[in-house]
């Protein structure tokens, strides 16, 4: 058991050290979340669409009334009159979706350059190899999420007034859970895949649909019913809703249901992924 922990740590440490060592990659991966939040979040100015429509020659009471109506509509849809806040919370979940993809790439390179064989001829527990790869991804993601969150707040994300440390911790756990599932899936895929193109192809196939069929960018109630059905089985929806609940205060109907779905899907992917990866390592 002690062997698993220390081997996991050293394998993850290697990936993290390489990540930081690649100066250009490191800088780009730090800038990416900042760009995402600033450009995406601020370009989708949905309040702007409404406010600019209130005709100015109307009597002030009527103007106020219309504004009131629009705000009500926004509030119904997003749970806040401020779309950027809605979006930023969703983005924290989506970012984990995209980062998780990279955990696969390092496995493929290790395989192709023969380093994986090096690992496999040591008595390192096979589970530790999988855990190390996924662990490194979670660590990188944690750092980047903190940056992303800080940028969002700096750019005007409205946090809920009674935000507590346990809310922050809960939001972090939610994001880690989502990434645990996704990076397990990508890591497993990489053990079986021959080259990195497979990862990018699958990423392109899966990531954008997962993002758009979730509540990350847009509320589920506004979607046609068939799309709602997809959103309901999409773990990103649950992660986005949970993050939003903890950070912004948008209520959710059944907290326990949300967290259970996310946990079951993610832990399921993790356990199946671990088993399949170990199987690959032992059967060649």
């Amino acid at each position: 058991m002690a062997g698993v922990v220390s081997s996991t740590l050293i394998i993850a440490w290697r990936d993290i050290k390489k990540w930081i060592g690649r100066r250009a990659v490191f800088v780009v991966s730090i800038i990416t979340p900042l760009i995402w939040i600033a450009f995406f979040g601020k370009s989708m100015n949905i309040q702007g669409i409404f406010t600019s429509r209130v005709p100015e020659n109307l009597p002030p009471q009527l103007q106020n009334l219309m504004q009131e109506l629009f705000n009500q509509a926004l509030l119904n849809a997003f749970g806040t009159t401020d779309y950027f806040t809605f979006f930023a919370a969703g983005m924290l979940a989506v970012f984990s979706l995209f980062q998780s993809m990279f955990s696969g790439v390092s496995v493929i390179f290790d395989k192709r350059l023969g380093y994986m064989d090096r690992l496999l001829v040591t008595p390192t527990p096979r589970t530790a190899i999988f855990l190390g790869k996924v662990g490194a991804t979670l660590f990188r993601l944690s750092l980047l999420e903190i940056l992303l969150f800080a940028a969002a707040v700096a750019l005007g994300m409205n946090l809920k007034p009674d935000l507590s440390a346990s809310d922050l911790l809960a939001a972090w756990i939610v994001i880690m859970l989502l990434s645990l599932g996704l990076s397990s899936a990508y890591t497993t895929l990489s053990f079986y895949a021959e080259n990195q193109e497979v990862i990018f192809a699958v990423g392109n196939l899966v990531n954008l649909p997962l993002m758009f069929t979730s509540s990350a960018l847009f509320p589920v109630q506004q979607m046609p019913s068939w799309l709602q059905a997809i959103a309901k089985v999409n773990p990103v929806t649950y992660a986005a809703d949970l993050v939003r609940y903890h950070l912004v205060g948008k209520p959710i109907n059944d907290y326990l249901f949300h967290i259970s779905i996310l946990a079951v899907v993610s832990l399921g992917l993790f356990i199946v992924g671990l088993a399949l990866s170990v199987r690959w390592m032992n059967n060649r």
Binding site: G3, S6, S7, I10, I11, W13, R14, K17, K18, G21, R22, R112, L113, G114, Y115, D117, R118, L119, L120, V121, T122, P123, T124, N283, R284
Partner: protein
């Protein structure tokens, strides 16, 4: 005699029905250097991968210090070190980090791992470049780093898969010296190579492997003495011409063999025989005289030369040669 490594009827059939290793058995004695000599695609790497628990044999088994590679892979992993054919060190990290990580993977504490890292690097003459990124290393340094990485846990048995592939003569000699020193430390070594000089000068015993089968085994002296005498190679323009001359010479009572456009005459004393042959040599392009060596043993057994260079996995090969050229 106790075997350090004993292969028993190893067979490996890759998907697509490629029989890479075909019923291979051998016994490596404790403390010796045992070489698998064979051309590209002979099955050397596949054999080493099975012995190092990376590949499961299709059938057969091997025992490493008594432990089955199939049933007790983890016990085997503790006692072997392996220098793979391709370079596996991470060129984005320092030599030190590469070896240190390896030490940690064998479960040593930080201070123990650091001590072992230093010793392994020192033994391979790499201590003074340890803190440099591996991307700045020469080809020979990278090969030595591979060995250092394989030595941190002080394995009793070391497999080296073509450790001098692609190196210049000087780096190769340096490495040969280090390998000889490893043997002096008491390490049992399995070496694969397709350089016959390497097999001849380093090994206690050699197995010649071709198409997945061991076709001869013995000390280099035993293998070459079977050929006897010296050999005169007569290189002609075509196989046709070679055949014609061969017929003529065998009528005269010479021991002659033809390989493509080369004619090989085995004699007891080449210098004294050449004048005798002179009248028949008008169409010969080149004459070469060799004492019997493993290359010729291979030629004798298979009718082919050892070295028909051709890359293995093209991606790895490119990466490897690119790194070696730097």
């Amino acid at each position: 005699m106790e075997c350090a490594v004993e292969a028993e009827n190893l067979v490996k059939i890759y998907p697509g029905n490629v029989k890479a290793v075909d019923n291979v058995s051998f016994c490596i004695k404790r403390g010796e250097i045992y070489s698998l000599l064979g051309p590209n695609g002979a099955g050397k790497t596949t054999t080493v991968k099975m012995l190092s628990t990376l590949l499961k044999p299709t059938s057969g088994d091997a025992r490493v210090l008594g432990h089955s590679i199939v049933k007790e892979p983890n016990k085997v992993r503790r006692i072997i070190g392996i220098v793979p054919q391709e370079l596996t060190s991470d060129d984005e990290m320092t030599g030190w980090d590469n070896v240190y990580i390896q030490a940690k993977l064998y479960g040593y504490s930080r201070s123990e791992a650091e001590k072992r890292t230093r010793e392994a690097l020192e033994f391979m003459d790499l201590l003074d470049v340890a803190k440099r990124k591996v991307s700045t290393y020469s080809g020979g340094m990278r090969r030595r780093l591979e060995i250092a990485m394989s030595l941190v846990h002080q394995p009793e048995i070391l497999y080296m898969d073509e450790p001098t592939l692609g190196l210049d003569v000087q780096s190769r000699r340096h490495l040969w010296n280090l390998i000889t020193q490893l043997k002096k430390e008491g390490i049992t070594i399995l070496l694969t190579t397709h350089y016959m000089e390497e097999a001849e000068s380093l090994s206690d015993r050699v197995a010649i492997i071709d198409h997945g089968r061991i076709i001869a085994e013995g000390t280099p002296a035993e293998l070459t003495s079977k050929l006897g005498g010296e050999r005169i190679h007569l290189i002609m323009k075509s196989n046709n011409e070679a055949e014609q001359l061969a017929n003529r010479l065998s009528e005269l009572g010479f021991n002659v063999k033809v390989f493509n456009e080369t004619l090989v005459v085995t004699v007891s004393n080449a210098a004294k025989t050449i004048p005798e042959l002179a009248p028949y040599l008008s169409n010969v392009i080149e004459v070469r005289i060799t004492r019997p060596n493993l290359e010729e043993v291979f030629l004798e057994l298979t009718g082919r030369r050892l070295r028909d260079e051709e890359p293995i996995d093209s991606f790895r090969y490119r990466v490897m040669t690119r790194r070696l050229r730097r």
